[in-house]
């Protein structure tokens, strides 16, 4: 069958995509947990992280050709820049588009429409200000990112894949710790379970919501940087497709469920890649849609069930 030929190759590169999807999906899932709302504009948070990482890293690298330890340093700088940009944009999003509507007890429809508006505004702004062509980052490694480092079951793992995997895993672990162990995480879980009671217990709802957005933004922005490291580079439209797919991943894993978002992202990345092997690359975007519909029909609560309130 089409799949068995180069199964591990596609599996590994699918995982790399999957990690990116997982990071973005976490943003969707966190916000959904506390607001019961899909943050449509999260795809633009991802995109802005890509641009933030791009500018900072291009500036930082200058005309150097980093290798070894300094490569690691530059990747970290890029991740941080992407994350911070994402966090800022996410915060602005919350303050400008969502908070006024929450104050007004606006119907859910209004939130969705406003999010769409912000999404279109942000990506067109990026296009207007930064030009409408894709830009590539100056590579923080001298080793070609596409040369295989090592192989897993015969599938080449190149530097790019490795960087994504390591960064993503580190961030996912970090997020898990934050949600489980910190005050902030407690607040998020409380508001996700029952906002009114949490407020009565002294939790500052506005602050928790803002922090949730920022947290999701940090991850999404960092994902933008990682995405931009690849050959596609960064462009003002880069947010749209990964955004939808990441949302599908979040639903697949169970919306509001952090571990679910991680699982969903990885699973979607792999399945998508294997499908593109079988049906051709031009059909790859359709896979996510069919998976979404399938999940919603057969198991709408997702693979791991919807919950943020309990321990993911």
């Amino acid at each position: 069958m089409c799949v068995t030929q180069h199964f591990w190759d596609f599996f590994v590169s699918g995982l790399a995509n999957g990690f990116v999807y997982a990071l973005i999906a976490l943003g969707y899932t966190l916000v959904y947990g506390v607001l019961q709302l899909i943050n449509f504009a999260h795809s633009e948070v991802f995109m802005s992280g890509g641009f933030g990482g791009l500018f900072v890293i291009n500036f930082a690298i200058g005309s150097r050709h980093p290798h070894g330890l300094s490569s690691v340093w530059f990747v970290l700088v890029g991740l941080a820049a992407g994350a911070v940009t994402g966090g800022i944009v996410a915060y602005i999003l919350e303050r400008v588009a969502y908070r006024p509507l929450r104050r007004r007890n606006a119907p859910k429809l209004a939130f969705l429409i406003s999010a769409i508006g912000m999404s279109y505004f942000l990506y067109n702004l990026a296009g207007k200000e930064f030009g409408r062509d894709a830009r590539t980052m100056k590579p923080p490694f001298t080793v070609s990112p596409n040369k295989p480092l090592f192989t897993v079951f015969g599938a080449p793992v190149n530097l790019y894949d490795a960087v994504i995997a390591v960064s993503a895993i580190a961030m996912l672990i970090l997020l898990d710790r934050v949600v489980q162990r910190t005050r902030l995480g407690q607040g998020i879980r409380a508001v996700a379970q029952d906002a009114d009671t949490a407020a009565l217990m002294g939790v500052n709802i506005d602050r928790v919501i803002a922090q949730t957005f920022i947290l999701g933004g940090l991850l999404g922005g960092a994902a933008g940087f990682l995405f931009g490291l690849g050959t596609a580079g960064v462009s003002y439209t880069m947010g749209f497709t990964p955004g939808i797919k990441a949302f599908t991943a979040a639903v697949l894993g169970g919306i509001g469920n952090i571990r679910g978002a991680m699982l969903g992202g990885l699973l979607l990345g792999v399945v998508e890649n294997l499908s593109s092997a079988c049906f051709g690359a031009s059909w790859v975007d359709v896979v996510a849609f069919y998976i979404l519909v399938l999940v919603l029909l057969v198991r709408p609560m997702g693979l791991l069930g919807e919950r943020l309130g309990r321990s993911a």
Binding site: V96, Y120, V293
Partner: protein, 435 residues
């Protein structure tokens, strides 16, 4: 001590409104300012914010704030908002309303005759067709409260149906039809697609419905592009779709590339659709939709089959879109997947929201005004920036005027009641809240 007073004022309501207004002024400055480029990403920002422009915009913002927040004016202004929301204001007498529609119709008939050919084309391609689309989406979003982000997909299905049945696609139909005759087939195809899409997804939460419909819109474009042997793919159909023509009972007329005949045909269809939808809205169907929007559980308890009515709204919206697709296809003669992008679905959504969700006159006026903008302000606004403005418009509308330009009476009431916490205003809230 004075620092504290300054801070106290800055965080007061008026102070906050000043920040918001000034920030808004800066945003408008950047939006309307120069653009950056690939090699010079800061050019746009520098050009807008580090030049004389910023002073002008800040000044305008300040003046706006002064005007709007001075006490007496604020009171009068908010009174005018609430007055606009009160149902009695809107032409209580049926005859006044009919007269208003009559005047509008007269204008619509006469005005295009005095316009330039450029504007005549706009009237057909951009305003006319989009009024029809807005009316259809108005039923889905405005009356039933369902967010459909893939609306353009049904338009595409209608257009491709027309192309197929007039033998303009690579695959041949069993018999060839006149474009007029393809209308029922196109409507049927679009309605079928609407039902197939709606049946599994309308039971889902509103947010999910939005995403699924978005995805549907996307994959229709993908299928249209990839199945080149069926749809003609990206280059489009090789044989042009014939224009409309009538050959019945001694009546012979052929529409050509001239805009005006198409305009009048479109106008006739729009009037027909308005009459149908108006009747629908004031029937048990319209009331059932309002009930579902207001309180789905209570609606079900009152015997309303909520799923069936939602599906009905969806199907009607899809059919209208498909119908518009035929008109579009037959006029433009060549259709490609590029004619049916996501952002058109969003555009139609903007038209409906801006005009007033659930309001027929709102949909018409909203479509006309918004579609005028990129053409009327062509010299001041770049075409690529259009959605920059539309996006901002959506956000601003949702915060300051969610009922739209010409609110439907029911909707305006609902929003006013929702704001005072008495009611949840649409079908997107989870249904099983403390029963």
């Amino acid at each position: 001590m004075t620092l504290r007073r300054v801070w106290a004022w800055a965080t007061s309501l008026r102070g906050r409104q000043l920040w918001v207004t000034l920030a808004g002024a800066l945003v408008v400055d950047v939006m309307t300012g120069p653009s950056g480029s690939l090699n010079d990403p800061t050019a746009g920002f520098a050009g807008s914010l580090l030049s004389r422009r910023v002073g002008i915009f800040l000044l305008i913002g300040f003046a706006f704030w002064l005007l709007v927040t001075s006490r007496e004016r604020l009171a009068a202004w908010s009174r005018s908002w609430t007055a606009a929301v009160r149902p009695s204001r809107w032409l209580p007498s049926r005859w006044y309303r009919l007269a208003a529609y009559g005047v509008l119709l007269a204008v619509a008939i006469v005005l295009p005759l005095v316009l330039s050919p450029y504007w005549q084309e706009v009237a057909v391609d951009q305003i006319g067709v989009y009024v029809l689309l807005a009316l259809g989406l108005n039923v889905v979003v405005g009356l039933a409260g369902l967010l459909d982000l893939g609306y353009i997909a049904f338009y595409a299905i209608g257009a491709y149906s027309c192309a197929y049945w007039t033998d303009s696609l690579p695959i041949h139909p069993p018999f060839v039809l006149n474009p007029f005759a393809t209308i029922p087939f196109a409507i049927a195809a679009a309605m079928l697609a609407g039902v197939i899409l709606g049946a599994p997804t309308l039971r889902l939460r509103g947010d999910y419905l939005a995403i699924v419909t978005l995805g549907f819109g996307e994959i229709i474009t993908i299928y249209a592009t990839n199945l080149q042997s069926v749809t003609g793919g990206s280059p489009g159909n090789s044989r042009p779709i014939p224009h409309f023509s009538i050959n019945l009972f001694g009546l012979h007329y052929r529409w050509g590339i001239d805009n005006m005949p198409y305009y009048y045909l479109l106008l006739a269809f729009v009037v027909m659709v308005i009459v149908f939808f108006h009747n629908l809205e004031n029937s048990r169907v319209g009331r059932a939709w309002t009930a579902i929007r207001e309180d789905e559980v209570a609606a079900a308890a009152s015997g309303v089959n909520t799923f069936r009515y939602k599906l009905l709204a969806f199907a009607i919206g899809a059919s209208t879109s498909g119908f518009a697709g035929v008109l579009f296809a037959s006029k433009i003669q060549t259709i490609t997947p590029l004619s049916f992008l996501l952002q058109q679905s969003i555009l139609i959504l903007v038209l409906v929201i801006f005009g007033g969700m659930g309001s027929i006159p709102g949909a018409i006026v909203g479509a006309a005004i918004i579609q005028w903008f990129p053409n009327g302000l062509k010299t001041y606004v770049r075409k690529e920036d259009l959605f920059l403005y539309l996006g901002a418009l959506l956000v601003v509308m949702m915060i300051y005027r969610p009922q739209g330009l010409i609110p439907s009476r029911r909707r305006a009431r609902e929003l006013a009641l929702a704001e005072s916490g008495l009611v949840e205003a649409d079908a997107l809230t989870t249904a099983s809240r403390d029963v």
